[in-house]
């Protein structure tokens, strides 16, 4: 543990903490754009710079470890001046069509401009425009809104291992792209969508949310993925009682990371093929029935067989897709209502 002073208050924090982490844990928010827990620290956006007593330059708090006796100012005049200029520079080279941006209201760039009262930029000049890439099935890439934080590059390389993205060109011409500037189909992209989830602005956006609703109209429900046994935690984005997308949730052991199925595999929920009514087969064809009718029918049939043959004539297959509660009731049903232990599920497949 070391003791440091932040904005005049003394704190005791573990010696391996960065200034950013030390501040965060003590309730002091420092703005960041390129920092993402778990990814390599690139220190590139410079939003998180702070003033450290005795150091001439401002330091990136994400990349600077705490040291004993360190005195930090997180919102001094110098710091604010630097942050304001960084924001002015970013919006000077950013497609500012915020009115219809899907991230309007859910955008770090907007939030920080508000926080530091940056209404406009004096740096009017060259601006990069790139055509929007709509070529892949799952998300659009609108690099006129990219702030080059590099998180998409890192998460793809460091978590997925697909190494789809990298920076191209230098200086002002720097652009994030895929190998040979190709569409994602031509790359090693596995469509995990993690780049979309880490993008702090509207540069990478799921196609499914386009024109579906403003971020504040969208409800986010934390739940567990319905595919494999890892049980990733995710947030379903819901608008007007329909799922429109998925975003990261960091409360599970997947730490907010997802694969293609969790991220983009939810559409079956709204499939036209969903069964909506009980069906009873009569003369070889299914006919719609009410619940009352269908359940009575089933109960009657089961009762008949039970009376005639006893429990040994029944078997039940439950599902690894169903919840614990449903599975519990199912085996309870088989055992107590149908008097059989012939109950299994597909664990072996």
């Amino acid at each position: 543990m070391v003791s440091i002073t932040i904005n005049g208050n003394q704190y005791s924090v573990p010696a391996d903490y960065s200034i950013l982490k030390a501040a965060e844990e003590n309730g002091i928010n420092i703005p960041t754009l390129c920092y993402e827990e778990g990814l390599t620290i690139t220190g590139s956006c410079r939003m998180c710079v702070v003033e450290v007593k005795g150091v001439r330059k401002l330091l990136a708090s994400c990349a600077t470890p705490v040291t004993e006796g360190m005195e930090v100012q997180t919102e001094s005049e110098r710091v604010i001046s630097a942050r304001r200029d960084i924001l002015r520079l970013l919006i000077a080279n950013h497609d500012l069509r915020c009115l219809t941006c899907e991230r309007n209201g859910d955008c770090r760039l907007q939030d920080y401009c508000y926080r530091y009262k940056v209404e406009d930029t004096p740096y009017k000049g060259d601006k990069k425009h790139y055509p929007i890439d709509t070529d892949n099935h799952f998300f659009i890439r609108d690099y006129s809104k990219c702030i080059k934080c590099g998180k998409c590059v890192s998460i793809c390389a460091e978590v997925n291992g697909a190494h789809v993205y990298d920076f191209m060109e230098r200086g002002f011409d720097t652009k994030v792209t895929s190998a040979f500037d190709d569409t994602l189909q031509e790359t090693t992209c596995t469509a995990c969508g993690m780049c979309v989830n880490v993008c702090p602005v509207g540069a990478l956006v799921e196609k499914s949310v386009l024109w579906e609703g403003r971020p504040w109209e969208v409800k986010k429900v934390t739940t567990t993925c319905s595919y494999c046994g890892v049980g990733c935690q995710l947030k379903l984005k819901v608008k007007d009682d329909r799922i429109i997308g998925v975003t990261a949730d960091k409360s599970g052991s997947n730490l907010g990371h997802l694969c293609a199925k969790g991220q983009f595999g939810w559409e079956y929920v709204h499939s036209q093929d969903r069964l909506t009514d009980p069906l009873i087969k009569r003369n070889g064809v299914f006919e719609k029935a009410s619940w009352e009718e269908a359940l009575t029918y089933v109960a009657h049939r089961l009762q008949g067989i039970l009376q005639e043959r006893g429990g040994q004539a029944f078997a039940g297959l439950s599902s690894a897709k169903c919840t614990n509660e449903e599975n519990y009731l199912f085996q309870k049903f088989m055992r107590t209502v149908l008097h059989t232990n012939n109950v299994d599920h597909c664990a072996r497949l």
Binding site: D85, Y123, R170, F172, D173, T174
Partner: protein, 591 residues
């Protein structure tokens, strides 16, 4: 035996020194004089302005601007034991011919410690190096404990010559103390500053000294492998370093159990693609690893986690070339050279509006005046001294008031400039300081790696503002914007490139603010450089209404009656300047 030392540095080569050398070789053999004269093709002599140059020992006669057709006459004179007057250096102020190199003003105030072999030995021949005490320092070092070696370097007060001026011994100490299975020594020969060529000249002229420095550093920190990162635009340096490595291997100065000790060391060369930012130590290591050359945040410092995540020590070519010198002369003697906090010598690349351009090694603490006027021979074409830009694109400018400033790390920083790698550009009254700042900034903008926001976006905006100003579209608020944005870029950028890129603006703004204001308010470039601002004006009080200008103007832009001051219609003026030449009363000005 007499030696004829023909300069084979890149500067003289471009002046065809190779042909001179070959002509000498032929002539000597034709006349059967090989036994009498030993001909050598050496590294750079430094006085590139006068190239191709030849030094003849032991008399130290220095011949300039030698052409192949001069060779028969030269040999003729040498054979007779005479001096060939025609080619001796002429002192421009006195028009006197100067007999020995030592008396040439360019060399007089120099102290050539690190450059002592440059221009003297044949860089492609290890024996030449060995016979001038080469690898003696290494032998000495191998008998010491690594800690003792580090102590020697600490005592010498050597500081990094790559720009930062970090104490070398302390840096080695950090790397020594890091524990790992492998450590690296990296020699930074990227030399990206435009106009700087000391590292190139050292690598070309005395490559073994660089290797010896790396070996000693490797022994001191406990590394077994070294990399030389050098730009591919330096083919001759690459070639000579490669030859040196092969020869050192063959003689047992590289390899396993060096000179019977337990120390193993090998050196690889890695060629860079010539991005300025790849000279920054962390970007350089990324580049060696095959990644995009982008700096990474420090800490962790290279001494803890450098190349391939192993502890690494990175030093500049000149820093490393100092090491054998220190070990040879002893750290205490070395520490007597220079000032209290800046020890030893520094090599400067002297360029710009100065009579003697070239490479000069001077003791730290020498004044700017001595460098510009004594060594450099003053401003060229008899013009007036205006300023020097020191430290390349990351440095700042110094003016007349600084001429007596001692050149050392700390005084330069205090004055708003920096030592940098040692570029020194002299400017005269015809230099526009706004345009100068614009020039350096366009370099930095172009070389920004694009990783961090302030440098990537900010330098573009600074450049746009400067562009506006030199085009006559600036406004006064632009000067404040330059100042505040410049400061913020310096404060918040990730690496040294961004942290220094606005320096040329801030220092010119500080010392030449008036020049900026003239551009903005009066739309005038006083140095007459900024094309868009050039306009000719008749100063009414001086005009005698002689009408000569009116007659000479090809576009009939001048109007005026007798006894009435004349006027120039800017919209018709083609800016040819004839009127100004013709005016007998100097009443027409350009600005």
């Amino acid at each position: 035996m007499k030696e004829i030392l023909v300069c084979g540095g890149t500067g003289c080569i471009s002046g065809d020194s190779r042909l001179v050398h070959d002509a000498l070789e032929q002539e000597l053999s034709r006349q059967g004089l090989e036994a009498e004269f030993k001909l050598k093709y050496t590294g750079c002599h430094g006085f590139c302005e006068q190239g191709p140059v030849i030094l003849v020992t032991p008399k130290d006669n220095f011949y300039c601007k030698v052409a192949p057709q001069d060779v028969p006459n030269l040999i003729h004179q040498l054979k007779e034991g005479k001096v060939y007057d025609e080619l001796l250096y002429v002192e421009p102020t006195t028009n006197e011919r100067i007999l020995t190199r030592h008396d040439v003003p360019f060399y007089k105030k120099q102290q050539r410690l690190v450059l002592k072999n440059c221009g003297i030995i044949d860089p492609e021949n290890i024996d030449d190096y060995l016979s001038s005490c080469g690898y003696k320092s290494l032998q000495k070092v191998l008998k010491l404990q690594p800690e003792q070696v580090i102590q020697e370097i600490k005592t010498s007060g050597l500081r990094g010559r790559g720009g930062g001026g970090f104490p070398t011994g302390t840096k080695w100490d950090f790397a020594r103390k890091s524990v790992a299975d492998n450590k690296y020594i990296i020699c930074n020969a990227d030399e990206g500053d435009p106009g700087a060529f000391m590292d190139r000249s050292l690598s070309e002229g005395d490559p073994h000294a660089v290797l010896e420095g790396m070996l000693i550093a490797g022994y001191a920190i406990g590394a077994q492998e070294g990399y030389i990162y050098i730009r591919a635009e330096y083919p001759l340096a690459v070639k000579r370093l490669s030859i040196a490595i092969e020869q050192a291997k063959a003689r047992g100065y590289l390899g396993k159990n060096l000179l019977g000790s337990k120390f193993d060391f090998s050196i690889k060369i890695k060629q860079g693609a010539g991005a300025f930012v790849c000279g920054e130590e962390t970007a350089l290591m990324e580049s060696i690893q095959g990644n995009r050359g982008m700096p990474r945040p420090r800490p962790p410092y290279p001494a803890v986690k450098g190349l391939w995540d192993r502890p690494s020590n990175i030093n500049n070519v000149e820093t490393l070339a100092n090491v054998p010198v220190i070990m040879e002369m002893g750290s205490e003697r070395y520490a007597q050279i220079g000032t209290e906090k800046s020890k030893g010598t520094k090599i400067f690349a002297l360029t710009g509006k100065v009579n003697n351009t070239g490479l000069a090694e001077v003791p730290m603490g020498i004044t700017l005046r001595e460098v510009v006027f004594d060594i450099g021979g003053g401003v060229s074409d008899g013009k007036k001294f205006k300023a020097v830009q020191i430290g390349g694109p990351s440095g700042g400018c110094l003016t007349e008031e600084h001429l007596d400033l001692p050149i050392d790390y700390d005084s330069l920083l205090e004055a708003g400039a920096m030592m940098g790698s040692g570029g020194l550009v002299v400017m005269d009254e015809s230099t526009c300081m706004v345009e100068l700042a614009r020039f350096f900034l366009s370099f930095s903008r172009h070389e920004s790696c694009g990783k961090c926001t302030p440098c990537r976006e900010g330098n573009t905006r600074l450049l746009e503002i400067l562009q506006r100003i030199v085009e006559g579209n600036g406004e006064m608020e632009d000067l404040d914007r330059l100042q505040s944005l410049g400061e913020n870029i310096i404060q918040s950028s990730l690496c040294g490139l961004g942290q220094t890129a606005p320096n040329p603006i801030l220092s010119t703004l500080k010392y030449f603010r008036q020049e900026y204001e003239l551009h903005v308010k009066n739309k005038v470039c006083p140095a007459g450089v900024c094309k868009a601002l050039l306009s000719y004006k008749v100063m009414e009080d001086k005009c005698k209404a002689c009408g000569l200008c009116k007659k000479s103007c090809p576009t009939e832009a001048i109007t005026g009656e007798k006894k009435q001051a004349h006027k120039i219609d800017v919209s018709k003026c083609a800016q040819c300047g004839v009127c100004m030449e013709k005016c007998p009363f100097d009443a027409i000005i350009r600005g």
